[in-house]
């Protein structure tokens, strides 16, 4: 019964349906974009309609929202946070800083492309994206989850060496725990 492809497909559909309607976001604001989260969460835009709500710790969260620029110092914490999160987990890159560096493209301490260091499922562009854009990003993520295409975590596991090499390029002194995969 377990190996039956048809029943597995049905299980997947139900599982993905459940997952897409309870996206808990880790309350960890990294850049200036975190200021767009309160209006998204509160009564005017009310992201909880889509099942999006805050979670206190990485182990309870499903979505890691990278809200803006990442210094190498923050990147270290973000990598640790991401690796502590339980499957299923998704990453949303928020704002142009995560895509190509944005206005910090010539800064001495900020990375310029987030998907070199963490697997990004959805990018929301804009500087800053308004709550409508944020909600559209979440809607897109829900679509991908329903279609079974939001597989960033699997990519990260399979290509861990590539991600690690990139991370160690910008973090010269590596004092991080190695988790079991």
């Amino acid at each position: 019964m377990i190996n039956d492809k048809v029943s597995q497909k049905i299980v997947d559909i139900i599982q993905n349906f459940a997952r897409k309607h309870s996206l808990w976001v880790l309350a960890y604001g990294t850049g200036c974009g975190a200021i767009e989260i309160p209006p998204t969460m509160t009564s005017r835009y009310d992201a909880e309609r889509l099942g999006v709500r805050g979670a206190a710790t990485p182990r309870q969260a499903d979505v890691l929202l990278i809200t803006g620029y990442l210094t190498t110092k923050t990147l270290k914490r973000v990598i640790r946070v991401y690796e502590q999160m339980q499957d299923p987990k998704y990453v949303i890159g928020f704002g142009s800083c995560t895509i190509n560096g944005g206005m910090y493209y010539d800064s001495y301490n900020t990375i310029k492309a987030l998907d070199r260091y963490l697997p990004v499922d959805v990018y929301i562009n804009g500087c800053m994206p308004r709550p409508e854009a944020v909600l559209e990003g979440f809607a897109k993520l829900q679509e991908l989850i329903q279609a079974g295409k939001a597989d960033g975590a699997r990519k990260y596991k399979e290509n861990l060496d590539w991600y690690r090499a990139n991370q160690k390029e910008v973090i010269p002194v590596w004092r991080m725990p190695e988790y079991n995969w």
Partner: protein
């Protein structure tokens, strides 16, 4: 206020022969002084003139003069006057006196200046690392530090994402068929 300002300038120039007063409007008094006399003038301003509050220590890189300029900004609650004390430090051998025994908060500013400009503060007791974690390059706020070249060398750059930048109206036009205004066309590459 003007009388009090004149009084402050008079007292300081009487006590410190090397202090030069620079004229400023408003509630600002401004001095330039050699760096050896900085602790003395700050002690005097704090204990005798009532400038109890150290607002900030600022640093300026005068690359052409081969000097750093340090600015100590003090504030008096009773007179409501601020005092700027300027001094110049040699850029090749940047050593300055530590003043965190006068104001504890000076410690933080000095650590930041040490990290960002590479000025040594004699007698400053603090860990070497402050804001920059595991920093291995030269002090980043110096003017001869090429930030752009360093960023391009250190961090991977997504070139095409910049050269293909499109105005947001371009996307709207593609989605809805809305006419793009002429002025917006030049922003789409």
């Amino acid at each position: 206020m003007e009388e009090r300002k004149k009084e402050i300038i008079q007292t300081i120039t009487d006590h410190f022969k090397d202090a030069v007063s620079n004229p400023y409007d408003g509630n600002r008094v401004d001095f330039t002084i050699p760096k050896q006399q900085i602790p003395a003038i700050l002690f005097y301003l704090k204990d005798e003139m009532g400038f109890n509050h150290l607002s900030h220590i600022s640093c300026i890189d005068w690359l052409e003069d081969k000097q750093f300029e340090l600015v100590y900004i003090l504030w008096s609650y009773t007179d409501r006057v601020k005092v700027f004390v300027h001094t110049r430090v040699d850029r090749e051998q940047p050593v300055m006196d530590n003043i965190d025994m006068i104001w504890r908060q000076a410690n933080t500013y000095e650590r930041e200046i040490r990290e960002m400009y590479g000025i040594r503060f004699a007698g400053l007791e603090a860990p070497e690392e402050f804001l920059l974690e595991d920093w291995q390059g030269p002090p980043p706020m110096r003017r001869d530090f090429d930030t752009y070249a360093y960023a391009m060398k250190t961090f991977w750059d997504r070139q095409e994402a910049r050269s293909n930048a499109q105005d947001v109206r371009e996307t709207i036009r593609r989605r809805t068929g809305e006419e793009l205004p002429d002025f917006a066309k030049k922003y789409s590459r």
